[in-house]
């Protein structure tokens, strides 16, 4: 029922979601967003898939790999790129570096692997600033498609490489106005209805009150992840909590992604704030206030009845037993 509603209400969902019902059944995937432009409802699925593959320069790969491309685009591009390092490693030809078995295990549960001490997993974790990768519990068919797609990327790497710089060359300019709008958006409910960022995140920046401690401090996130990483995560959050918070029609608009990225760039100052501002002062005020209230209580009700009127009578009678 919920899935059907999603379908109807969200016309920006492109073909792959319609063609892969398995993928729809997983909430993380359900609520992720494609960054492709909205496609009119009536457009034929085949055409759409073709166009998508064309952008990635993969028109020649088999149909199954096209599905893999879609899955890759939908779930991985927030952090990974083909042909370049981003938040995560370049995945071009990753199937040659690691066994299929290892990749499946890693995609489904990288954090568990790091905890269990898998050498390669820990190495990647250390190399990429200890950034955790969310778990993607793909079904076997989807996993096969994804790996097939990744395997295909190794050979026509040149083709991908020629395509990729063209995409990156688009100059992204942040204006002061963008930063200001981002600062406002960070602290307010977003246009799609999603909760404000500050609910869970803290950013140590001028004009921003201390934020939540539920999720990571984002002061220096721009330095860790770069423009593409930040914009990618904002556009299609791969983290379950964020995916749930900004799913179901509450996604950020492109403009919001742009402005918030601009703001996070401006906030990035390279330092690592230990605690949000004012936390110690808050503790001090809290303790001081409590002491003041207790003192007031002691003064206002100094003549209260402290024990039963019968206390002395009962005490004496118990003594005489």
């Amino acid at each position: 029922m919920y899935i059907m509603k999603q379908y109807k209400s969200n016309h920006t969902i492109a073909t792959p979601r319609n063609t892969f019902h398995n993928a729809m059944s997983h909430p993380a995937i359900l609520s992720t967003r494609l960054t492709v432009a909205p496609v009119t409802h009536g457009l034929m699925n085949g055409l759409k898939a073709l166009g998508l593959a064309g952008v990635l320069g993969l028109a020649a790969t088999p149909a199954r790999a096209q599905d893999g491309a879609a899955i890759f685009k939908q779930n991985c591009t927030a952090c990974h790129k083909l042909g370049a390092r981003m938040v995560g490693p370049d995945l071009t030809g990753v199937t040659e570096r690691q066994s299929g078995e290892w990749l499946r295990k890693y995609i489904r549960g990288s954090q568990a692997m790091i905890k269990s001490g898998d050498k390669d997993a820990v190495a990647i974790y250390e190399e990429y600033n200890k950034t955790l990768m969310p778990d993607f519990p793909f079904a076997d068919a989807e996993m096969d498609a994804l790996l097939e797609f990744l395997a295909g990327t190794a050979k026509p790497a040149a083709a991908a490489a020629t395509e990729a710089p063209a995409e990156e060359e688009k100059p992204i300019v942040f204006t002061a106005a963008d930063v200001e709008r981002g600062r406002f958006m960070f602290q307010h409910r977003l246009s799609g209805g999603g909760a404000s960022c500050i609910t869970c995140h803290n950013v140590d920046a001028p004009g921003v009150v201390p934020g939540g401690l539920l999720a990571k401090d984002l002061t220096n996130v721009y330095g860790r992840m770069g423009q593409a990483g930040v914009a990618g995560i904002l556009g299609a959050p791969p983290f379950p909590a964020m995916a749930a918070a900004y799913g179901g029609g509450m996604a950020l608009t492109d403009d919001e992604v742009h402005a918030l990225t601009a703001f996070l760039q401006s906030a990035n100052n390279g330092t690592t704030p230990a605690t949000p501002r004012g936390q110690k002062a808050m503790l001090g005020w809290g303790l001081g206030g409590m002491a003041a209230i207790l003192l007031l209580v002691a003064i206002l009700w100094h003549n209260r009845l402290r024990r039963s009127v019968r206390h002395d009578i009962d005490a004496r009678q118990l003594r005489t037993i």
């Binding site: 206002l300 009127v309 019968r310 009578i313």
Partner: protein, 497 residues
């Protein structure tokens, strides 16, 4: 003049035998419920004693009642500023231990205990927690001077007595006591009503019964503190306060309240009094020495033509005026002046009056230590009463011993006069001297005797027919608001509109 009718009561303490039947009748009818186990809307105390709840008369502890404040009176424990300060923490409230922790016994253990060397026992269990408890107090723990080192000796009314006077009271030969049954006084100037932040307590227009609206009560418990007689109780189960309702459902159907109906000693009288509501403030703020006179003065003569006319103008039914004329309370309190209010210094103008007990000395110990039960006359005069006058004055007249003496002299005159009639061993001079000393006559003492000893049910309880259909008119003039239904003001706000 703003004449209202008030159901009032007289308890004749010389007739009380301390059987607690009234308490049980009340408990069975009204407070045999969860949360109300500890409440005794009617209780019988032994005096001297600390009472229930312990030391309820000591307003230094409980801050109940009114205190004189210049020309007016103010609540001792509540009021605007004090009430606001204490609204979330009322610091002078009695705790459960001050009443007592109600308990029952595990009677089933007597039948279900396994066979053993000892008799099975029924252990006491708390009615509040259900746990086994060690019973430390009950609602009449000081009954018949039980535990007098702790209870009788701590009686609050001993404050004006010297240590020697107090000591003499506890000599075995002089030891004395009497019973003091108490219910809600349904006061004319009720502190509980004044203290309620929710406006849940009200005095019924037609008969002055003070009631707590269980819908509006918000459990602030200011009334528990404010009532100097500690007759407003908090029900821990319902979260509302409760008090004696003077069995108004019984009164409305012409029956006496359960406690009065069941009274074995027939000590209780109930009737209507007419009073001038405009004078309440003036009377409540009278100087302490004039309090009793001022209060008795507020009750009006129901035979006076002016009073009757004013009462009718105020919407009081003819049947109620007739009941006021027949009221035994009017006779005891106004005509004969032998019933006095309990602790008038609390300034709530209680409507329950007590005929003080005589407690005559029937014997004495002479210099040789011989216990002599023969005195020259049967009653050696009220001066030899076993309880000091000051003690009774502390209870009933805010310290005025002369007034207590006068009442006791009159009661003595009734007894002397009746002895002359029935036994005939007293001379006319002796009887006349007693009558004169009491400023009374044979006719009056005969009337007192009749109402005290021979009164029928109908004479003791003169209950006016309930005119519930008219009661609304006494509170508001419905004609004024007819046609204004929904919006508007009956009384324009002072700030204008």
């Amino acid at each position: 003049m703003n004449i209202r009718s008030q159901i009032s009561m007289v308890f004749h303490l010389d007739k009380c035998i301390g059987c607690h039947t009234c308490s049980i009748a009340c408990k069975n009818v009204w407070t045999d419920r969860k949360g109300a186990e500890y409440m005794w809307w009617n209780n019988v105390e032994t005096k001297p004693g600390t009472g229930y709840p312990t030391k309820w008369e000591d307003q230094d502890i409980y801050k109940g009642g009114w205190e004189k404040n210049g020309d007016t009176v103010s609540l001792r424990g509540a009021g605007k500023l004090r009430g606001l300060k204490n609204i979330f923490h009322n610091p002078h409230m009695p705790v459960l231990e001050d009443y007592y922790e109600p308990w029952t016994y595990k009677y089933s253990d007597l039948f279900t205990a396994p066979e053993g060397d000892d008799q099975p026992t029924a252990r006491p269990v708390s009615l509040v927690t259900g746990e086994n408890i060690d019973v430390k107090a009950g609602p009449n723990w000081d009954d018949d001077l039980g535990g007098s080192p702790d209870h009788a000796r701590h009686d609050v009314n001993f404050k004006d007595l010297t240590a020697a006077e107090q000591e003499s009271l506890f000599q075995l030969e002089r030891m004395t006591m009497f019973y003091l049954p108490r219910i809600c006084n349904h006061c004319l100037n009720p502190a509980c009503v004044a203290s309620c932040p929710s406006g849940a307590i009200y005095k019924r227009g037609e008969d002055g019964i003070v009631l707590i609206n269980q819908q509006r009560c918000r459990a602030w418990r200011m009334c528990v503190t404010a009532c100097p007689y500690k007759k407003s109780y908090y029900n821990w189960n319902t979260g509302k306060s409760e008090k004696c309702i003077l069995c108004y459902p019984r009164l409305e159907s012409g029956q006496a309240p359960a406690c009065m109906h069941s009274c074995v000693g027939r000590i209780r009288y109930l009737g209507v009094m007419l009073y001038d509501a405009d004078r309440i403030h003036e009377v409540a703020s009278a100087p302490e020495s004039e309090l009793v006179d001022a209060q008795l003065g507020i009750y009006l003569d129901p035979f006076d033509e002016d009073v009757i006319a004013a009462a009718k103008a105020n919407g009081i039914a003819d049947s109620t005026i007739r009941a006021a004329q027949l009221s035994p309370v009017y006779k005891f309190v106004k005509q004969w002046g032998i019933a006095l209010p309990l602790h008038p210094e609390f300034r709530t103008l209680p409507n329950l009056f007590y005929v003080p007990p005589m407690l005559p000395a029937m014997a004495s110990v002479d210099a040789d230590g011989v216990y002599d039960s023969h005195t020259e006359s049967l009653w050696a005069g009220i001066d030899r009463s076993r309880l000091p006058m000051q003690y009774l004055a502390s209870l009933f007249t805010a310290g005025d011993t002369e007034r207590v003496k006068h009442v006791l002299k009159k009661l003595l005159a009734v007894k002397v006069s009746r002895r002359k009639t029935t036994v005939g061993d007293l001379s006319d001079e002796e009887v006349n001297a007693t009558l004169e000393a009491a400023r009374t006559n044979v006719k009056e003492v005969d009337e007192i005797f009749r109402l005290t000893s021979l009164a029928t049910f109908e004479e003791r309880f003169v209950i006016p027919p309930a005119h519930r259909e008219e009661s609304i008119e006494m509170l508001e003039d419905t004609g004024d608001v007819k046609g204004n239904t929904g919006f508007g003001f009956r009384i324009r706000p002072a700030r204008g509109i």
